[in-house]
Symmetry: C2
Subunit: 415 residues, 2 copies
């Protein structure tokens, strides 16, 4: 009984703290997810110590980001993603190569071992799909052209980062089989292709699958959740991140005719679970560990490299879309998060990196996350002028008169 | 990454197995929750071993039963419960006294120590609110008079069982303070009273609390979940079961004007989480542990005593409502579950009982759960004839012609 009480209390404290932070930041017209992260920091071990990082409480964070990506997947149309495929690929590739090179160079200059250099470099590569998609969703910008390029590129660089992780683990273990890495890469691409093709074909040809009347009392929610959990697990099992499976599941379910009913039911559930994810990020900030001049210096250098290389890579990759969009996309790709932290966590577990480097990676992920959201509204206004009315309303800005006409404008959306 | 993959895979396997069992039993016109339990048994450690009992996976089961009780609370009107208060109190009290006496006597006859006798007796007292409310909900009988008596009595005997647990822990620890037990009892009653009075007053006087437009985008789901998690945690902290807090939270939220919107959103989410609870019950069946003649004999005796004493106590308590209803209520109170298993778990943890007695208690809880659902439709038809059309439809029986007239009949409900 006491154990249950403790876990429930921690989850409650984290949820309430994150939501309070969220509300305060919304009222200050600042990005809500930063409020959630800071709420988590306050109740976490570094400050009040009410919420503790345990496997059990982190499971809720994991479900939170899985739900978030499922919801974002629902809003993403495969057809739209394919139209921006070439740009997304260029942004994703350059946005991985430059940060990896920069991280590797920095670690070498700091006189670190090969294993540290590879892990640090790998941890800098992946843009946080969770964070960027939350920022885009808050600004109603998921379906703009820039939004789609950012999302597509973030998924691509997650896949690349996880391949690099496999290489890094091989180096740390002293064994590096190009065959295994090649196999992993093929498995990842095959997984994505098979899921999309089979999933969409199934849902289109027998579209009753989500609402067979005797199943789940006609609501598409439960079948949707089963697909989400199944693909998240499958992606994690073959070595991809669970969130990629969840994103694909959302994209597949989004092709079903019940998309709108599903979206309506998933939105409140995702709103319940996602604060656990952002709150847990904040709770993982180790204030005491950072308060050291040496660590702070490394942190400043790593963050500088992380921002500069990712921005440059993504900007160059997106230049064909014009300077305004390239600037937006460059900044939009900067936030690091779950995958970088996972990479560093595995490095720590294998003994390849030490606690200080781990703390630096987590802090870098949080700093890049805090940096970007305040910049995006302005950049979006220049790059995607069609989004302005919906965005104004989302930010609660003066002069935004919500009405049917604006609603309609948002529905059509910019392309 | 591997750890996440493992947890997600286990949750997925449990969910799918439970839902397949659910579907098969629905098609066979048998109670769906038994299908879920058996699905859990099949993927659990006793058979396939895909799903393992861990703190992390059990957290989902806990959230499942918390969600279930919240949903049942939403359907339960305080006003209705109070109208059956006297009967529920009689059923609850007698339904605790007889099983406790019977269990204690049996343990003494089996030559067990005082500590074992007290723990075994305590484990027999509490009717499973989770199981009975699921059975009642599946039959659309939550709001019949018998349904309300069963629910009210099940909540009352949970409170009593948790007080008895406190006594049992005192005996096992060799220290028994009547003051502490009295204090716990008062705290429990005060908690329930304060939650109901304050909660309902708040929601009625400032009913915008669930849908303040800037909060949760106008959906009552997130505020409802915060209330649920908060009261579940609070109940667990003061030594009551988390599910009692969740039930109260549901009852309070059910008084809000947004009740219907909330119910619509909670139903699919509860349908997603509850299979984890029933599946986990099945997974906890230790087939190898039971397959022993001595254990089987004790199990048969304990189950016999559990069924006979609970039926008799509840039947006598409900006799003022007529024989038909008393019979229904007597059987309806028989299923044991979460609280009995929790009591036995704590006894095992303290070393007061051994693994065999624990296995017997878990198996008894499952047997009583399997026994009752097949009996209830027939008993309900005699005791609450008004429920027949809705029930027929729920069971998919021939001759049930769903139509607006019957819908209307169900809405008015029998009293």
């Amino acid at each position: 009984v006491e154990h249950t009480a403790n876990v429930l209390l921690q989850l409650f404290a984290l949820l309430v703290a994150a939501k309070i932070g969220d509300e305060i930041f919304k009222r200050l017209r600042q990005p809500a997810l930063i409020g959630e992260i800071l709420g988590g920091l306050v109740v976490g071990p570094s400050v009040l110590g009410i919420y503790q990082i345990t496997d059990e409480t982190l499971l809720f964070a994991e479900i939170g980001v899985v739900m978030l990506l499922f919801r974002v997947g629902l809003e993403t149309r495969l057809h739209d993603l394919l139209r921006v495929g070439a740009s997304a690929l260029a942004v994703g590739m350059l946005g991985v190569i430059l940060p990896f090179g920069g991280g590797f160079l920095l670690a070498t200059l700091l006189d670190q071992s090969l294993a540290v250099a590879v892990f640090l470099a790998a941890a800098l590569t992946a843009t946080s799909v969770g964070i960027t998609s939350r920022v885009l969703a808050d600004l109603h910008a998921v379906r703009t052209r820039s939004g789609r390029v950012i999302l597509g590129a973030a998924v691509i660089d997650d896949v690349l980062a996880l391949l690099i992780l496999a290489i890094a683990v091989g180096i740390a273990a002293g064994e590096l089989s190009p065959l295994r890495i090649g196999a992993m890469g093929l498995a990842a691409i095959a997984f994505i292709a098979v899921v999309l093709l089979v999933g969409i074909w199934l849902l289109r040809s027998r579209r009753s699958i989500l609402t067979e009347p005797r199943f789940a009392e006609g609501s598409p929610f439960l079948p949707g959740m089963i697909i989400m959990l199944g693909l998240a697990a499958a992606a994690a099992v073959i070595g991809l991140a669970a969130i990629i499976g969840a994103f694909l599941a959302g994209m597949v379910a989004g092709e079903a005719s019940e998309k709108h009913a599903l979206e309506e039911q998933v939105t409140p559930v995702a709103a319940f679970f996602t604060p656990f994810f952002f709150g847990a990020i904040g709770a993982q900030i180790d204030l005491a560990g950072i308060a050291d001049l040496g660590v702070l210096t490394v942190l400043a250098l790593v963050t500088l490299v992380a921002v500069a290389t990712k921005f440059t890579g993504a900007f160059l990759g997106a230049l064909s879309l014009g300077r305004a969009r390239a600037t937006l996309i460059g900044w939009g790709m900067v936030p690091r998060g779950e995958v970088g932290i996972v990479v560093a966590g595995i490095g720590l577990q294998l003994g390849a990196i030490d606690g200080d480097i781990y703390t630096v990676v987590v802090a870098m992920a949080i700093l890049t996350t805090l940096l970007v959201p305040p910049l995006l509204p302005r950049l979006l206004r220049t790059a995607e002028p069609g989004i302005v009315p919906a965005m104004r309303r989302a930010l609660g800005e003066a002069g935004a008169a919500p009405g049917r006409e604006r609603e309609a404008l948002e529905e059509v959306g910019p392309t």
